[in-house]
Amino acid sequence: MRGLLLLWATVVLTAAGCGGSATLTEHSLRKEAEKVQSSAAEGALLAADVARGRTTEPFARIHSGKLAEQAKRVANVLRTAKAPGLEADRRRAADTAAEVEQSLEQLHSAPTDRVLAGRLQHALVREAAAAGKLAG
């Protein structure tokens, strides 16, 4: 019985620990920055096609939505995590991820607006470059 209680306590404490903020190492921070770079660069390709009228509305809307979700997930991780000794980089990466998410959300909301898409393409290229620097 005591063994079962101990096991239960371990499970509960582990689960509670999982809900807390993660700690990012240099490697894991770089990996998160790579994900931001990837979403931004792919979003830029999509935005370029929207701007040139080379895609369909459902594809642009759905795919930009998926990319925005990816960026949001990474932004959440970067915002809540701790990165001892790397806090400045973590904050920069979190800000960039949030910007990427915002750009992709705009594309998701207006998938036929070619002028906006042109602006978003340039923004996403810049954001991809910024994340790329953090990814090393």
Partner: protein, 408 residues
């Protein structure tokens, strides 16, 4: 003339039917991560599937017994049951991934909610399986799957450095992360040789009532069809290498794959890519549902075959319906179909020897095969590929853990 026509139709179906969601995901991700470096793995995978499909097609034609019949007889009930369970788990995971892929492709085409399309997709599959004869199912999905050739056109438009592409056919690892490289090599081999393909192929030979006169058709379908199907895999990998690798894009959705056709060819390229993905993945979903039903029926000795009316093979019919329902139930939970695909391919690699060893043994059994037993060439290729399969089966799980599922 009729034979030439049959061969042409079979080859076309094989090209379109070769690529499934596992090939699409792994080839695109491998190109984005390692450029052309893993093209050689596709060559080995295609070589293995040609060798063993030809073999199990020949076994089916000569003995009128499909692959899982042979598995049970050769491995006995106990180990045969393990092979059945392993095969069914992999089939179900693959089916779930393919059903999810259908809904994703439909969503990118129509923009409707995923779960609605999931339901429409699975009901559509059930109606198609129920209503169409076997040959038509195979051909309709194979032919529309040919729309994936848009990626081959895209490659030409992207103008890769062909000299660099050629270096990818020689195994080499220009990377510091060997575990991830190994994981993708295993994934590519696994995606090309998933067990359901040979189970479906051998059962299909009986469904189409091939006789020894059709052994030429069997050989041509396997060699030419799968080789050309392999070209689609090359095209997906080279497209990703050209578009995604230089931009450090890590493609994680089917939309990323379709974007690879849209960028060089615009809306037309996108639509061809999405239709190709829809039918390739839809065809694979039917193959896996049937494969699950074939395996059960052949193992337990039930009546089976699409050529029979449902009332004549009720347990077989019930089996594919249950497979579809279970596949749907897995994806409707909200699990990511792409993640399911990655796991299904890696676990299928582990189960590969249980499929391929019995086929090789039966194809060499002169009591079974008479003059149609394996010759020297078939055995050289068969044993060679079996050694590769054994190595990757042992390495698959450790590489999955070491590479953090390919994430590094």
């Amino acid at each position: 003339m009729k034979k030439v026509f049959d061969i042409a139709l079979g080859i076309l179906a094989a090209i379109g039917g070769f690529v499934d969601i596992g090939d699409i995901v792994f080839n695109t991700a491998a190109g984005a991560m390692f450029q052309y470096q893993l093209l050689w793995a596709v060559v080995i995978g295609v070589g293995a599937i040609i060798t063993y499909s030809e073999m199990c097609g020949r076994v089916a034609v000569v003995s009128q017994r499909a692959a899982f019949d042979a598995v049970r007889e050769r491995l006995g009930f106990g180990i045969g049951l393990v092979a059945l369970l392993a095969g069914q788990v992999v089939n179900l995971m693959t089916l779930a991934a393919e059903i999810g892929g259908i809904a994703l492709a439909l969503q990118l085409l129509a923009g409707l909610p995923f779960r609605v399309l999931l339901l429409i997709g699975v009901i559509g599959l059930a109606i198609v399986i129920w209503a169409l004869p076997f040959e038509w199912i195979e051909r309709v999905f194979g032919y529309f799957g040919l729309a994936l050739l848009v990626f081959a056109v895209g490659v030409i438009k992207l103008r890769p450095q062909w000299g660099e592409v050629a270096t990818g056919f020689v195994p080499h690892a220009d990377t510091s992360n060997l575990a991830v490289y190994g994981f993708f090599a295993v994934g590519l081999l696994g995606a090309a040789t998933v067990p359901y393909e040979v189970y479906f192929y051998s059962s299909g030979a009986i469904e189409e009532r091939w006789t020894p006169k059709d052994l030429g058709v069997n050989k041509a379908n396997a060699i030419i069809g799968y080789s050309l199907g392999g070209l689609l895999s090359f095209a997906l990998m080279i497209t990703a290498a050209e578009l995604f690798y230089p931009r450090a894009i890590s493609p994680e959705t089917l939309g990323s794959v379709a974007l690879g056709a849209e960028v060089p060819m615009g809306e037309v390229g996108l639509l061809f890519a999405l239709v190709g993905i829809l039918f390739a993945v839809g065809g694979a979903a039917i193959d896996t549902a049937f494969s699950g039903a074939y395996n059960l029926a052949q193992f337990f000795g039930w009546e089976w075959g699409k050529y029979r009316k449902p009332a004549e093979a009720p347990r077989f019919t019930l089996a594919w319906i249950v497979m579809l329902v279970l596949g749907f139930a897995i994806v409707v939970t909200g699990v990511d179909p792409i993640v399911v695909t990655e796991y299904s391919v890696i676990f299928s690699v582990v189960a590969l020897p249980l499929t391929y060893i019995p086929i090789l043994l039966v194809a060499n059994d002169r009591a079974y095969m008479g003059n149609y037993a394996n010759g020297r060439l078939a055995n050289v290729f068969g044993i060679g590929f079996l050694v590769v399969i054994l190595i990757v089966a042992i390495a698959a799980i450790p590489l999955m853990i070491l590479s953090n599922m390919g994430q590094g």
